[in-house]
Every structure is written in C-alpha cells, then in structure tokens.
Symmetry: C2
Subunit: 228 residues, 2 copies
Amino acid sequence: MVGYLVKQAKVSNNVIRRLPRYLRKLDELKAAGVDRISSGELGRQMGLTSSQIRQDFSCFGEFGQQGYGYNVTGLRGEIASILGMNRDFSVILVGVGNIGRAMIENFCFEQYGFHLVAAYDVRPEVVGTDISGIRVHDISELPRIFDTSRVDLAVLSVPKLIANKAARELVEHGVKGIWNFTNVELDIAESEAIVENIHFSDSLLALGYYLSEKLDSEAAAAAKNARQ
Amino acid sequence: MVGYLVKQAKVSNNVIRRLPRYLRKLDELKAAGVDRISSGELGRQMGLTSSQIRQDFSCFGEFGQQGYGYNVTGLRGEIASILGMNRDFSVILVGVGNIGRAMIENFCFEQYGFHLVAAYDVRPEVVGTDISGIRVHDISELPRIFDTSRVDLAVLSVPKLIANKAARELVEHGVKGIWNFTNVELDIAESEAIVENIHFSDSLLALGYYLSEKLDSEAAAAAKNARQ
C-alpha cells in the first residue's frame, strides 16, 4: 500500500463527514474477509461514484494503487489515523440524565480513540455514584479536574435551560471541544472550541421526507389499481 | 412568494439532508424578526454558496423572486411541507432503556409532524407505567396496535442483541420506517421499510478530526514560539 498522510490546505466538511462512513464500510469488509477492493466496487456498495471516492482520498495523499485497488486493512488504518482515533482524547461528561447515562453505559468511547474520565451532575441521587466504572462528581468539583488533567472534550447533556451557561464554563476552563446533545445552538462563538451537535431532529425530518415519498407512491399505486 | 411544490424525478440525498438545516436557520431568522433574505446572505450564514442554495430549492420549484430574495415564513412553510411535517405520522417506540426513555421524555415528536402513540418493552418494572403520558406496553401486545391503527414509524431503541429480531417483527407488521438507535446495521433489506440510523460514532469521529487539526495547529504554534 502506498500511503502518505499529507493533509492539504483545507479539506471540505463533506469529505470529513464521509470518512466515518468509509471506516464503517471497511470494518464491515474486513469482518467479511475482504482484503482489497476497487474504488468502483467500494463506490457501488456506498452509493458513491468511484471518482468521488478517489477525489475524497486524494485530499490526504494516495491510498490506492492503479489496477490493484485499496488494501482494506491499510486504508482503514489511514482513515483511523486521519480521524485521530489513535490520539486517546480525554473526555468528561456533564449532565447525567437519560441521555448522559445512556452514553456512559452504552457508548464505547474507547473504540473511537476517546477516553471517558469523569462525569458531573448536580442531583444528590447521582452525585457520588459510579456508572459503568465512571464516577459522577458534583458540578462544583469541575474546576479541579483542570488542575491535574488536560480535557479535550466535554459531552454536554444538561437540560436546555443551562446549556449555554455550562458550555461557557467548560470553554473558560479550556475544554477544546463540546459534543452537544442539548438541542440548543450554543452561543460560544467567541471561544475557539469546536462544537459538534447531535441533531436528532435533522435525522427524523429526513426520514419524514422519505416516508412521505413512500406513502405518496403507495397511494398513487393504489389509486391506479382502483381505476383498473 | 412564488412557490410550487413540484417534486422532480429524484432529489439527491445531500439535498434532502440540507433541508432540515434550512428549516432550523429559517426558524432562527423568524425568531430574530427577519422577513426576507437573499440567497447570498442565507448562504453566508450557512456556509453555502448562493448558487448551491438556488440549485437545492430548484429541485422543488421556484421559491424566490429575482431581486427580492426569499420570504422567510413562506420558504419555511414550503420546506416544512416537503419534509412531510404536516402529515401527522404515527410513531411507536420499542425499547424503553435510557435512550428510549430520553426520547419519550425530552424529544418533541409533535414539533416535527410525528405523533408518538405507544411504547413497548419487556421489563416488568416499566411495562404498565406511563412516561410523559405515553403508556409502556408489554412487547407481546405489539401485534394488537396494527389491528386498529396505521403505524408509520418505529423508534428502535432495544439492546443490540435483539435489534434485528425486533426490526424484522416490526416490518412484518407493516411499519413503513425505522428510526434506528441500536448502532446495529439492520439486515432487513428484503423489506421496503426505510431505515434511518442515528450514528453517534460518525459525529464523534468527525469531531475527533477537527480536534486533531486544532491540537496540531496549537502544537505547531507553540513549537514556533519556543524557537523564537
């Protein structure tokens, strides 16, 4: 495999967003025992053109070999590295409600290169407990972790009303990124922190579009049958 | 406002995925008292080019007027209608764990044109309870709802191990779409149901990319300062 990790000027967000999809597909291919794959076949399986795939990867160097295709394991490693999966980012979680608890209990941060170190809440019934090995501290103890550790990322899963206040406190302490589950557009533009929003509604609305299309075509087919 | 809801042949998935973002931006503009906006300004605020915006909307007809721009309320209404937000889709939720409970308690289905009617689980401690007005039934009662109601969508938030079994049962009963929170790639390709996956990991991995980029540039700046 010929591969150079050469990051060029500015890679478009659309390309970045496709990298995790490539990763999932390559994991699937590996699990199925596939060693190498052409850009054409990879495209067919992912609903992309082969030229789009070659263009995506060309942002980071050359990952394939003419007439040979991609080495699945090698390409997977390159993409994992581009995504920073080998960096062991340290993570805290703020707000141990339903979503926060679900992420602690069920989401495998380690698998993606992130290491969850602590959680914070205000409610006496959760403060001081351990959830899947993660201690829940009182939010008043938050400043202390920054004395001893670098915190790369905070998962923000507090109630809407305090989302901005909590986000501002986190970036003032030097958190580099916020994974935002609050459904509030955070107003922390003056900081340089990276905000990544989980927008459940965007996903549901796209689904609504496709459902509408399906129901319309079923209704049209039924009307046609009725006329015959 | 000149607007015709003319769906053309096949609108690309990328365009569909941008529609919820337009909707959020237009809601924000409405809330800020903005009545109309040019494609150039809308693009600037969303990180898109004005020609991309005009091209996106041209998939559905003509929404703007030359030299006038878009009427914010009118455009918002057109997009809501394209997304099926006026259709009152009926929804059931299967699997009342942390994520399922969070969606019942905190996610406003109604706001997006969906109507949550019932939830299902197997655990005695939740079956028979009401969560935010939604009754949790034993999963054995699932078939009964299909005798009396049309179910458009199922939110699937069961444990991984039973994800495929539950999905197959749902589509056999005629559910048209599955909103999949299980992090399992569902193997129901033989059905015509629409599957929309919530991939938390895709979001975290993209965040990891941007974090890496940020940490690298901070390290480079620090190294440069140290040399001076």
